[in-house]
């Protein structure tokens, strides 16, 4: 008699990649496992032994090491190991040892291969590094294309409903009580009701129509009807409704087509809520496009500051709509640039036109179009060489001050390193800027460049763009020829390294140390951006955006085939993780930051982050090898 071992299949079903399997497949896995107990400190897989099973940790903790004994991974309940060797020559490449008393399920190779064939998500999961990240990142993109925003997201409460026999007065009282502006009217079910619902006692009703505030005016009061008139006599027996999985766009069109302001939302035949035109307008105004246009409508810096919460709303909205990190980064940068431009316009209106041409220059993430919701301002002024400090600097200092202060009130805090146009050093004519870059590139030292790498992401925001473009040309021309400069930059790029991964509620470091949280910018996106910048500088790219830079790098032989794709997917995943966790912070009404706490990291996200960290770590090793730095 076949009997399912629920104890095994249910446990498997809670953990990736098994959670994506059908019940049937899960039962099959469960009925083929072999079980073994390992006391703490005993070997589970010995180096170079033959391996024929996938290993699953039912309880305990397992340490996986590299051939040279270096820690590769620390795994806990629900994690798998050994798939790497199974997909290759069956020789154990990463030996595994029980760190605690552990119970291991062994899943035979034949079942493992069957799962890989039967389930794409399982196959993707056990593929290491790039393919796993790639398919996840692309899966996120696919979801975004398919979904849009569904109208059910706008429904925030259950509809108010009333019996057709009830009086219009009673209906009006109900609306007041619930502070609603429309009520659904229910009647005994007819032969084949289009929309129906069961009440708490299991009685079936059909939905015959909707009565709105306007109907009370037009159809009751204006007609001089008594308050005792039954609702059923007033309501129009015609209901226009929309299915809950339709798009917001479709809901809006439906309202316009039918000239109505209330739209009942149905899940199949049952009403789930009523959407009002104002709900749709509110939703649309959270779009970043709307925000940008309203930035340019603001008459003063104070009014601009009031838009700061809207930036967060637009950010949350984009993330929830499934935008990728490039879209979010570009939109936030556009918003940041728009604030800057508007502040400059307002300042010029009061201070008068500039005495000599200038360009307001963005540095760092804004220049790369990769801005995040947690950001400070990094900017500078590049002024025409006709600049005479004695005559003109007063004007530009005031201009810089107004922009900088304005940005600060809009949520872009002052730069801690004082890289702002208010600092005289960064408010200079083009010739001085050219000399700065010449010094950085021709007389490089890691110490000297430590705080200057931000200047190698530079882009014009407003004014005479050619001033900044000349600097971009100069960098693109000089950087590839100066190996020592690249080496010094590379050395700095290696200062920040990724962790190994996660274990239970800790962040695991390569030396086995455990931390409670991780700064995903400092340990992930920033070092990744740093190393992409160096390769881009080496190949003379003028691009500022990391993904554009990778495209330029692809046109050279600088990186081995496939490596830039790995970096692309890793950067995308790290950036998305950071965005997701900032959304979590905002939703919990906390100040968003760059930290993520392991308890907020889902299991599959952990695996992907580990892959991304690994990709970054490998890329850093290559950077070290490619640009060795010696103190001549």
């Amino acid at each position: 008699m076949e009997v399912e071992l629920l104890e095994i299949s249910q446990h498997l079903g809670r953990f990736a990649p098994f959670d994506a399997l059908s019940e049937e497949l899960l039962d099959e896995v469960a009925s083929h496992v072999e079980v073994s107990y390992f006391k703490a400190d005993t070997m589970i897989l010995e180096l170079d032994s033959m391996q024929t099973d996938l290993c699953y940790i039912r309880s305990g903790a397992v340490e996986v090491t590299r051939r040279n004994g270096e820690l590769y991974n620390l795994l806990g309940e629900g994690d798998i190991f050994g798939h790497f060797s199974l997909m290759r020559n069956h020789k154990v490449r990463f030996p595994a040892r029980a760190m605690e008393d552990s119970l291991i399920y062994f899943i035979p190779e034949s079942i493992f291969h069957k799962l890989c064939e039967a389930s794409d998500s399982f196959a993707d999961f056990v593929e290491v590094e790039r393919p796993r990240l790639e398919s996840t990142v692309e899966g996120q993109r696919r979801d975004n294309d398919m979904m849009g925003t569904r109208v059910r997201k706008l429904v925030n409460r259950y509809p108010v409903m009333i019996e057709a026999r009830a009086s219009v007065q009673k209906a009006a009282q109900q609306l007041s009580e619930f502070q609603a502006s429309a009520v659904l009217v229910l009647d005994e079910p007819g032969s084949s009701p289009r929309y129906s619902i069961k009440d708490s006692e299991g009685k079936a009703w059909q939905v015959i129509g909707i009565l709105t505030d306007t109907d009370f005016r037009k159809r009751v009061v204006a007609e001089g009807l008594s308050p005792d008139t039954p609702v059923g006599e007033v309501v129009r027996h015609r209901l226009i409704a929309i299915q809950s999985d339709e798009s917001v766009q479709e809901a809006m069109l439906c309202m316009l087509r039918n000239n109505i302001h209330h739209l009942p939302v149905m899940h199949r035949r049952a009403p789930v809520g009523i959407v009002h035109l104002s709900d749709i307008i509110r939703h649309e105004t959270q779009s970043s496009l709307y925000l940008v246009s309203s930035i340019f409508d603001q008459p003063s810096a104070e009014c601009l500051a009031r838009l700061a919460p809207d930036v967060q709303a637009a950010f949350v909205r984009m993330a929830q709509d499934g935008a990728d990190s490039q879209t979010v980064g570009k939109a936030l940068s556009t918003i940041g640039r728009s604030f800057t431009r508007r502040l400059l316009e307002l300042a010029e209106e009061e201070l008068g036109p500039p005495p000599v041409p200038y360009c307001f220059m963005a540095l760092g993430s804004m220049a790369r179009n990769e801005q995040s919701i947690v950001t400070d301002q990094d900017n500078a002024l590049v002024i025409s060489d006709r600049f005479d400090p004695a005559k003109h600097d007063e004007y530009f200092l005031e201009l810089a001050k107004r922009v900088s202060d304005g940005l600060a009130t809009c949520g872009y805090s002052y730069c801690k390193g004082d890289i702002m146009a208010t600092n005289q050093r960064w408010r200079q004519p083009l010739a001085v800027w050219k000399q700065y870059f010449r010094d950085w590139i021709e007389q490089p030292s890691p110490e000297g460049l430590l705080h200057s790498s931000i200047f190698f992401d530079l882009d014009p925001v407003c004014g005479e763009n050619s001033l900044v473009e000349e600097l971009q040309d100069q960098v693109a021309e000089m950087a590839p020829r100066n190996k020592r400069f690249l080496a010094a930059m590379a050395r700095n790029a290696l200062n920040r390294t990724p962790p190994l991964g996660f274990f239970r509620t800790f962040v695991m470091e390569k030396d086995g140390k455990r931390n409670n949280s991780i700064n995903l910018k400092r340990r992930g996106t920033a070092p990744m951006v740093d190393l992409i910048r160096i390769h881009a500088l080496a190949c003379g790219s003028r691009a500022q955006n990391s993904f554009d830079r990778l495209d330029d790098i692809d046109r050279t032989q600088l990186l081995a085939p496939g490596v830039s794709d790995k970096l692309r997917y890793a950067l995308e995943f790290l950036s998305m993780s950071r965005i997701r966790h900032q959304v979590i912070d905002l939703e919990q009404e906390q100040e968003p930051d760059n930290n993520i706490e392991p308890e907020n990291v889902s299991r599959s996200e952990r695996h992907h982050l580990k892959d991304a960290f690994q990709t970054l770590s490998n890329a850093q090793k290559f950077l070290k090898f490619r640009y060795p730095f010696s103190n001549r």
Partner: protein
């Protein structure tokens, strides 16, 4: 609660008993069973073919209570072979009361279509043959199987088992530390299946399902041997 007091047999007693019973028995399934049960007492535990066995019954007294389900999982010290598990639900003569229904996770519907114990007993004995049986609390499994063969074939049956509960008692109740603990008035460590498992870091399973409990017992023995015995330990030192 009357329990059959087990006869404690030494290794050579077991050998003599099994040989004698094999020659005397009239039932071919029992002949095979006795032949297979006659394992050398000096066989190292790491080489022993074992079978974890659990019975769910309507009560504790084999004279008055009946078996409702039987679960078995074959294993060795290195692997528990779940794919070769066996499981029977059998229909008792008296109907189950509601309490034992919920207790054993067996419903009336399960039982309705189930065979009588007599009908499956031959399969059960043959499945066990050739393995050293491993149970948690031997006084249930051995006594109920004896009662079953007496009823079906008018023959008694006994066999050596490794009892994980008595191993746990040896470890946790008879050591000098355990005696000291008892002498100081603290309660002795619990040797029930779940509590014993917890001491080895084994996960919590839902109890009282014959197959789960058989699996749980097999895992417990692996853990006990890994923690307290050498893999070369002769089985004769562990069975009773």
């Amino acid at each position: 609660m009357p329990l059959i007091r087990p006869k404690t047999r030494s290794a050579s007693d077991w050998h003599d008993y099994l040989v004698q019973r094999r020659q005397q028995t009239q039932v071919s399934a029992l002949e095979d069973f006795f032949a297979g049960a006659d394992l050398s007492p000096i066989l190292p535990i790491e080489e022993a073919p074992m079978m974890a066995l659990d019975l769910e019954t309507t009560g504790l007294d084999p004279k008055r209570s009946e078996i409702v389900s039987i679960g078995m999982v074959p294993f060795s010290l290195s692997r528990i072979r779940v794919s070769e598990r066996r499981y029977w639900v059998v229909r008792p003569r008296r109907s189950l009361d509601a309490r034992s229904v919920t207790f054993h996770h067996i419903t009336h519907a399960d039982i309705e279509g189930a065979p009588r114990l007599d009908e499956v007993l031959e399969d059960v004995m043959r499945a066990m043959a050739g393995h050293l049986l491993v149970v948690h609390y031997r006084h249930i499994e051995r006594a109920f199987l004896d009662a079953a063969t007496r009823k079906a074939w008018r023959e008694s049956v006994s066999f050596p088992v490794i009892d994980t509960m008595s191993l746990e008692a040896r470890i946790h109740r008879q050591s000098w530390l355990a005696r000291l603990r008892r002498w100081s008035g603290r309660p002795p460590a619990s040797i029930r299946l779940h509590d014993s498992r917890t001491r080895y870091g084994l996960p919590h399973y839902h109890g009282h399902h014959a197959l789960n409990d058989a699996l749980a017992t097999a895992e417990l023995l692996q853990a006990q041997v890994a923690s307290h015995y050498a893999p070369e330990t002769p089985i004769g030192m562990l069975w009773s």
